[in-house]
């Protein structure tokens, strides 16, 4: 167990060190969420088309945009395993004294490192655009933790998808096919009540919905009524994904 924790931490440290040497990706990845906030957020705030319980629309979607960013990072990060399969990196890791679980979890949680950095870039932009956050550091830290943890679950989900891919072709396309439905069938951009019924059902089963609710409550609205449920769902999602990814990992390494 101690061994496994060590491996997970080492893999997260690896990610930080890689980021330090190549920051361009962090910045290019930040363009999309910033545009969402600056264009979509500001425009819809003006026209008041979506009922958001009195908070400005741009404030409403800030957690959604953060999670979109997290989702992107996590899904693409997990899918790059398809590429690493063809290099020796994965093979060498397999021969290190680490359990397969530790490698999968370490790999997934490393995406959390990237995701948090992405989120930290979005925050000052949101502040500049006039979003008002709840000034409570404890809330803020919990929100970041939730973003970090859900990122791991999504990365594990994409590892499962990666194990089904035969080649590394089209993995960008498959990434999009995973990200966009999750994003739109959630409460990231609009309240669930506004959705057509079928989509509502999907949204209820979409872990992103719970993460958005938690982060929105902690950062913007202060409404924490559903926080325990959110946390429970996210934890369950992560555990299931880690377990399934560890099993599917065998397919990747052979």
């Amino acid at each position: 167990m101690n061994d496994s924790l060590r491996v997970v931490l080492a893999m997260m440290e690896l990610e930080l060190r890689r980021l330090r040497n190549d920051r361009t990706e962090v910045y290019t990845r930040a363009v999309q969420p910033v545009l969402w906030l600056a264009v979509f957020g500001l425009v819809f705030s003006e026209i008041h088309a979506i009922p958001t319980n009195g908070i400005p629309y741009i404030d409403y979607i800030t957690p959604g945009v953060m999670l979109q960013s997290v989702l992107f990072v996590a899904v693409l990060y997990g899918l790059t395993l398809v590429w690493e399969r063809d290099t020796g990196i994965l093979k060498k890791l397999l021969v290190a004294p680490a359990s397969r679980y530790a490698i999968v979890i370490g790999r997934s949680m490393s995406s959390g490192v990237r995701a948090i950095i992405q989120v930290l870039i979005v925050i000052p932009v949101a502040l500049l655009l006039g979003v008002s956050f709840i000034p409570n550091p404890a809330y803020f830290v919990v929100a970041l933790a939730i973003l970090f943890v859900i990122s791991g679950g999504f990365a594990a989900l994409s590892i499962i998808v990666a194990s089904l891919l035969k080649t590394r072709e089209r993995f960008m396309g498959i990434g999009q096919a995973l990200i966009l439905p999750l994003f739109f069938a959630s409460n990231a951009l609009y309240p669930i009540a506004l959705m057509p019924h079928a989509l509502q059902v999907v949204a209820v089963f979409n872990p992103l919905t719970y993460a958005v609710d938690a982060v929105r409550g902690l950062m913007i609205t202060g409404n924490l009524a559903l926080l325990p449920l959110d946390v429970a769902v996210i934890a369950l999602f992560d555990i299931l994904m880690f377990a399934a990814a560890s099993l599917s990992f065998r397919k990747i390494i052979e």
């Binding site: 080492a10 440290e13 060190r17 020796g88 093979k91 397999l94 021969v95 004294p97 065998r250």
Partner: protein, 334 residues
Amino acid sequence: MTFAIDAKGLEKVYKGNVAALAGVDLEVKAGDIFALLGPNGAGKTTLMRILTTQFKPTSGEAHIFGLDVVREGGEVRKVVGYVPQETSVWSDINGYENLLIYAKIYGLPSQSRKEVIYDMLESMGLRAAAEQLVKTYSGGMIRKLEIACAMLIRPKILFLDEPTLGLDPAARIAVWKKLASFKMEFGTTVFFSTHYMEEANAYSDEVAIINMGKMVTSGTAEELKHSLRGELIKVSVSDHHVDEHTLGLIRGLKQVNSVVVADATLIVTVEDAETALPGVMDVLRSAEIPVVRIATTKPTLDDVFLRYAGTTRAPGAASTTERVEEEAGGDHRE
């Protein structure tokens, strides 16, 4: 005595029914440098990946220093260092950081970690490049870094899948010097695959050849070469006609297996050229046939490979099967 590697009846069938290993038996002595040869697709990488616990064999069993690779994988991984055939470094961090992350994964004690890493970099000749991003490294530097990484934990056995692929001769010699010194200093067993016959010849204690998932032969390089029993003596005899009677006398010599004449060259197949040569020369001299040139040819590991593993050869592993000595009685090469 426990073998470093002891495998029996290893079989591996990949999905899609590719039978990569079809019953491999293997024994490698502790402290040996062991070369695994075989054409592309013979199953070398598959064998190494099973021995390093990356996946299970379809059937059969294998032990590393007495530890079962399937049931005691965790223990096996603690004594094994491994350099895969494909590049396995993180290119977007520097050389030191590559080793640091592995040191942490392996749980090297943090007080001595830095020192151990720099010592290892120093000994692989990478000290000056330690703080450089690995993407700026040459192929040889990357291979050295990978070996440094695998040696970090002082493994009892090192698995190297084509360790010198694509390296220039100087880099290859440097890598092998290092590996030999690990063997000397720590008694590290080295199990490596290669397509460079002369490397197996020069550095290994033992050689095995695998073909189509089966071990076809093994032994020391000398034993394998000798087992071909086919050394040649080629004698050029100017325009002179070699009559049937003389040929008959040569054929009659104890050591001689066969004699053919092609153009003005006599090709004599013998078991051992050095001891057979004087007899052949005596016959020619008494028949007063003027000899212009004598060459002896011994089988090389290339010949062994071709004999046992068919005609499929890896590109780039050229070698000379024949060397010529200008004078009779000149030094015969080993």
